[in-house]
Symmetry: C2
Subunit: 469 residues, 2 copies
């Protein structure tokens, strides 16, 4: 491949200064203060200390449970010890679901136990389980095409072909089987549903994650098979005989309980310049210790803010939010938005895609703020970070802010390994590479140093430019 | 991360058929004929046979040289033996550059030989070489900022921080040092330029590739250091003493010579439905045997077309082009466009990004043809392929057609390993994984089966939608 950019060739007809404005990344000066902060952050150990502490001293912290409450207390102590200002918990309420027993076993024709994990909001079988024939669907597409009523008395088994991607884009597509597959199977009369895990590994570790049953759809038992077990079950299907399966899932809804956000700040020198809000989520699924999802996110954003806390005060206040309940319904981000939608937020950014290196920058600045994006791109390029052609503004926790027109920056992490471990028992500290974690901190520190000190106003983004989803 | 798509949650309020039209990938029926062709192609061995033959029996085939002429003859024999129709060579002329001797050595303070490869269009040193001090630039950004005249009598040494990406997006950004760095250094008075290879490896193999000196800029000697050698030289720079380097590069321009495109067809049943043009490029750089760049591309597209050749005749003619001279200036694609711009092309697609699996589909169909894109996405999803938010139309060889408004489909290969080997001696057959090569053939066969048989007209794309670059 040459892909010699024709635009670049054309530029050679102009003088170097013209070229300097148009070759990506934009050739603009980088503030030496930013360079110094960036390069020092490559030796950061604060982020590792946070995620090591959270996974060791708290561990799994399912939203709405007492484990999440312990995590909030841990967070307050840590943020206070780090010297942040205005450290507090903002409580909220949520509907909470908890896992019970879970087991699956092929009864005939090839008796074998299979590894499963219930999906969040799954209904329950009787304690003694159910036995029923399975109906196989090679894809979500095929499940959708099944006639109404055709699954009566059956267990739907839905496969998928999710591959690893650096940008994580296969999750949205192939994840449909988990997001809405159970509700669709329920409406078609299924007794229960098993999906091949929404993951890019081939291990025995099943991937949990939330599903949703809207009003009118019965919450049937819904679980993910590990990819390896799903592949084994598919091989059985191909042999052509009816397959009977025994399934036991005993989760339950416990009603309304406490959740909350933990907030800390680096005060800015110019209150009129607005607030830069960053963070990740404190809750985790219950199977692992929530290292990559999302201990890393709160660790990275906090460690970066700490570097600005320890230097000259930034122009803008940096607010770090460790959101509660991201995983099971987003009660944390909803509560934050309800309480703070009147605050003068000028920029939002979220880290919730693991701890592998940042490879790409995406922004959604208003046209008048294009120079800020250019400065970011130039300052981040030495970390190996490239500029995206897409607009920024991804992330469940900042979605309400982005939807309301707050400008956003995404520092996209490499997702190649992420869905090997996401929502599984394997999401533990051992998945985190300290050198890549530090590169994240360097990228976030660079971003904060540029945006929190930008001399221009940071404008709201027109609704059409925001990317709420 | 949850990234639970809000749009999907909302859809649950609707009935399943509505949902079926809106959840990605679009839940549309897939033609059983397409499924059968796709699944059979996963066992393809024609593509491997082509790239094995081309790399073994021809090997390196620099554009404009007699090696490229041998490759054209080989291609005609192979395409004829495979049963294609209208197999022919369409000759063209081009300006040809050939490599000479090349050597680099630090003379002081730490004498060591360094591995280099001249860039295409590099000027030459005297046969005895030159000795000069180096001036270090940590990035292309820094080279651009150097004052005019400041490089007089010096060898510029430009580094970069290119990281591997699945989508290859770092190539455009970090490649600027190769694309235009030599011309900029020349204008600033440099005697010669060395760049850190535009590659994501850390090996001793330097990456060549074309550079360009516009009228008025002297073609100075320009070469790439291997990444490992560049990193060694950077460590020397950090020690703070002046570095003297001896450089010998003796390439030369040989003037106008022959190149050409090799063309083969699968005749369609409906001439009024237009032509689907696909292909890759036959020429390669001279250092490796051109397995991933781009023996794989001609092999994949030809093997896919062969599967349609061997079945019921498609509605549309499929024209396979093995383009000459992609690497050094694009004489092949220019000649094709000059000769065929009056043909009724309705779709163009190119494979020129290695042989690792296809992970993403991008299209640029006119709005009225959105249903074709939906059918493609549904048919490709079981191969693990996700739909891009970007528009399709990448690729140097189809750029003139796309620029003229021909619709385009990109089947993006995984580029994670591509720039480890691209334009190096390591671009050989051993880099090709036969299973991933066959997945490419399955994706291309699927694409051809859908677009060549689409019952609707395939419309031209408005200029604003085309992505010529």
């Amino acid at each position: 491949m040459t892909k010699f950019p024709l635009a670049v060739i054309g530029l050679l007809a102009f003088s170097a200064p013209v070229l300097a404005q148009r070759v990506p990344p934009p050739q603009v000066p980088v503030d030496p203060h930013v360079v110094a902060l960036r390069d020092a952050a490559l030796k950061d150990d604060v982020a590792y200390d946070i995620v090591e502490g959270l996974t060791t001293e708290v561990g799994p912290r399912l939203a709405g449970t007492e484990a999440e409450a312990r995590a909030r207390a841990w967070a307050v102590a840590k943020l206070t010890a780090l010297g942040f200002k205005n450290v507090r918990i903002e409580p909220a309420r949520m509907q909470t679901w908890v896992r019970g027993d879970e087991a699956a076993e092929v009864m005939s024709p090839f008796p074998q136990k299979l590894r499963v994990a219930a999906l969040g909001n799954s209904g329950a079988t009787p304690a003694s389980g159910i036995t029923a024939p399975i109906v196989y669907f090679a894809s979500f597409n095929d499940l959708v095409a099944a006639p109404d009523g055709s699954l009566k008395g059956k267990i739907a088994f839905v496969s998928n072909a999710m591959a690893a991607t650096q940008d994580g884009s296969t999750y949205g597509t192939f994840g449909a089987a988990r997001f809405v597959g159970p509700a669709i199977a329920s409406r078609k009369g299924a007794l229960a549903i098993l999906i091949k895990s929404i993951g890019s590994d081939h291990s025995r570790a099943p991937h949990t994650g939330v599903t949703s049953f809207p009003a009118g759809a019965q919450a049937i038992p819904a679980a993910a098979l590990s990819v390896a077990d799903a592949e084994n079950l598919e091989r059985m299907v191909k042999r052509g005989q009816p397959i009977n399966l025994h399934l036991t899932l005993t989760p339950h809804q416990v009603g309304e309980t406490d959740t909350g956000n933990v907030i800390a700040e680096v005060p800015g020198t110019d209150p009129a310049a607005g607030i830069v809000v960053i963070g990740g989520h404190l809750d985790s699924w219950d199977l692992g210790t929530g290292a990559i999802d999302d201990g890393a996110g709160v660790a990275i954003t906090t460690a970066a803010a700490k570097r600005l806390l320890d230097g000259p005060a930034p122009r803008r206040t940096i607010r770090v939010v460790w959101f509660g309940d991201e995983e099971t319904g987003g009660a944390g981000s909803k509560a934050y938005f309800a309480a703070h939608k009147g605050d003068h937020h000028v920029l939002a950014a979220e880290s919730d895609f693991g701890a592998d290196h940042v490879w790409r920058l995406a922004t959604n600045f208003a046209p008048d703020n294009a120079a800020i994006a250019d400065r970011l791109a130039a300052a981040l390029a030495p970390l190996g970070i490239v500029r995206s052609r897409d607009k920024g503004g991804d992330g469940a926790d900042i979605a309400p802010l982005v939807g309301a027109g707050v400008a956003a920056v995404d520092l996209n992490q490499d997702g190649t390994r992420y869905f090997d471990y996401h929502h599984t028992p394997e999401d533990v500290l051992d998945r985190i590479d300290p050198a890549q974690l530090a590169q994240n901190v360097a990228a976030w520190t660079t971003m904060l140093a540029v945006v929190a000190n930008a001399s221009e106003d940071i404008a709201p983004v027109a609704a059409a430019d925001g990317k709420a989803r």
